[in-house]
Subunit: 318 residues, 2 copies
């Protein structure tokens, strides 16, 4: 007995084989390398096919397949909208995979839902009914567990907290990805850094180069670089405000920061909580635990496996 899990990102596909106890037994990551549309579907299908064969040869049956996708899954239509994968405006993933899955149930959900499902099943929010996963990577989004259920909204796009309004007046910079995300996501951090450096002719620090990354900014912060200092402190303030808002609105037991940026930003969680304490509903902020993800880079993979197991148990249809 085993579960197959996939975490599709904008640039890579991670796949894993999990035991029926949800232990990660085998893991692989394949870059998409420019694959688009049907090509990405083919890659997932090939992987599933190979993994089912290898499991069968080893004498194991596959109970279910879980797939985490970076966008919106329409359960009704069985299709996926993934803005970072060209050709996946309405990709019929369930139909596409049906030929090679040999009747094994396939469950698909968005990455944010998988993250919080993983943390509440085998991660830090175990046994929590009300918990939030704030994912800060290239973009920002939240997986929200409210009274034991993943919050979906009327059209499955709840948790779009990258669009949180935190700093008025409105700026043109917020148009493409939202106020919070434009300043505090991985991409946002790099953009703000480039702007600051371009605007400051006297700056000659270590970020004064082409193609800086989020990691460069965190590294420069450690060296007391003034631009990095400005950006990280601004992020701590805004992460704190967003955390406060989620706590005041949801009164959760736990908030988990994860995604690529937490990572290096996990060490700032005590400062982020201090900032949040200024803003949040004072009873709620004292009832919540704020932690870094236990599942790290594998959160999507673990989450997809947990999601598949849960759906299988509940007898949910596909």
């Amino acid at each position: 007995m085993s579960f197959l899990a996939f975490d599709l990102g904008g640039t890579k596909l991670a796949s894993g084989i999990f035991s029926d106890q949800l232990d990660l037994i085998e893991k692989k990551t394949i870059p998409l390398e420019g694959l688009v549309g049907k090509g990405v579907g083919d890659l997932i299908a090939e992987q599933i096919d190979g993994m089912i064969l290898s499991q069968t040869h080893a004498g194991f049956s596959v109970n279910a397949i879980g797939i985490s996708i970076p966008g919106i899954y329409s359960k009704e239509k069985g299709t996926v909208w993934a803005p970072n994968i060209p050709g996946w405006e309405d990709f019929p993933l369930i139909d596409f995979l049906s030929k090679i899955t040999r009747g094994i149930p396939v469950f698909i959900d968005n990455d944010r839902a998988c993250y919080i499902r993983g943390e509440s099943t085998i991660g830090k929010a175990r046994d929590c009914n009300d918990a939030i996963f704030i994912a800060v990577g290239t973009g920002i989004g939240a997986g929200i567990l409210a009274n034991g259920n993943v919050l979906r909204g009327a059209h499955d796009i709840a948790g779009a907290i990258g669009w949180m309004a935190l700093d008025r007046p409105f700026s043109e910079k917020y148009i493409s990805s939202g106020c919070f995300e434009s300043m505090c996501s991985g991409e946002g951090i790099v953009k703000v850094a480039e702007e600051k450096i371009n605007a400051d002719e006297l700056y000659s620090g270590q970020l004064n180069k082409e193609g800086i990354t989020t990691h460069d900014v965190f590294a420069a912060f450690e060296e007391n670089d003034p631009v990095a200092g400005f950006i990280i402190n601004q992020c701590i303030e805004l992460w704190g405000m967003a955390l406060a808002n989620m706590i005041s609105i949801f009164n959760p037991q736990m908030v988990i920061f994860g995604g690529g940026v937490f990572g290096p930003a996990a060490k700032f969680i005590p400062q982020i909580v201090s900032e949040a304490k200024k803003w949040a509903q004072p009873v709620s902020i004292n009832q919540v635990e704020v932690v870094a993800s236990a599942l790290g880079q594998d959160a999507g993979l673990h989450g997809a496996a947990c999601m598949a197991m849960k759906n299988l148990k509940n007898g949910n249809d596909l």
Copy 2:
């Protein structure tokens, strides 16, 4: 067959008799006039007692009693915390009323939960599974319906959106009631007006008097008063940002503005929506309807009746 409903506020108790079809048949409002602690409990008990007797004399049975309270109800303990009623830190309302309710089930819930329950049962959000009531009165709070259930949080204080962080840097003014509420509630609007007037020695407009009210500010806005203009425009911006945040986070079908301030502010809803469109997740904002409450000042009373009927139907315990 009938339902008794009560809407307890910080300064008054409204009571109503509803038909089994949830039509409001009779209504009464009694000022608390300085009553505190047990005195407020006695007032509710007297009203219930008299209403049960009158219903019995008229040949009607009372199915259930619903009570909306301005605070937090602990279902576990049957007690109420209501910060605006002295002596109600942990008031045992269920026990207190048990002697006079003659076995009729009593259901208690907080006002925000009652508002959204009322709107989703007999108001504008009928048949909505995902809807939000933003109550702007003396304070600000939200009743949130997510996938058909009222959002409660881990300790029953979800929806405390008066604490929403919208305007950095943090100011001492936000400490007592939160950033959003300190600027945009009824009390906040008056405070900001007083500050502006005190800071401007040259101001000689119609708000230059003792004891101004929220209604004075709205009236002055109609007369092009500059202080009122500043305040109402600031409110429209912040109400729009808060609306945007609720839409991005919850992806609801409908958001309803209610409470005493909406009222006069209901005419600004198109401008508030325009402001929200700048900030919100662009797909979600186009999937939502934003309206003023259909139930007006009676939202709490209607909501308490709906809540009682729903709990009775579901066989919920007390």
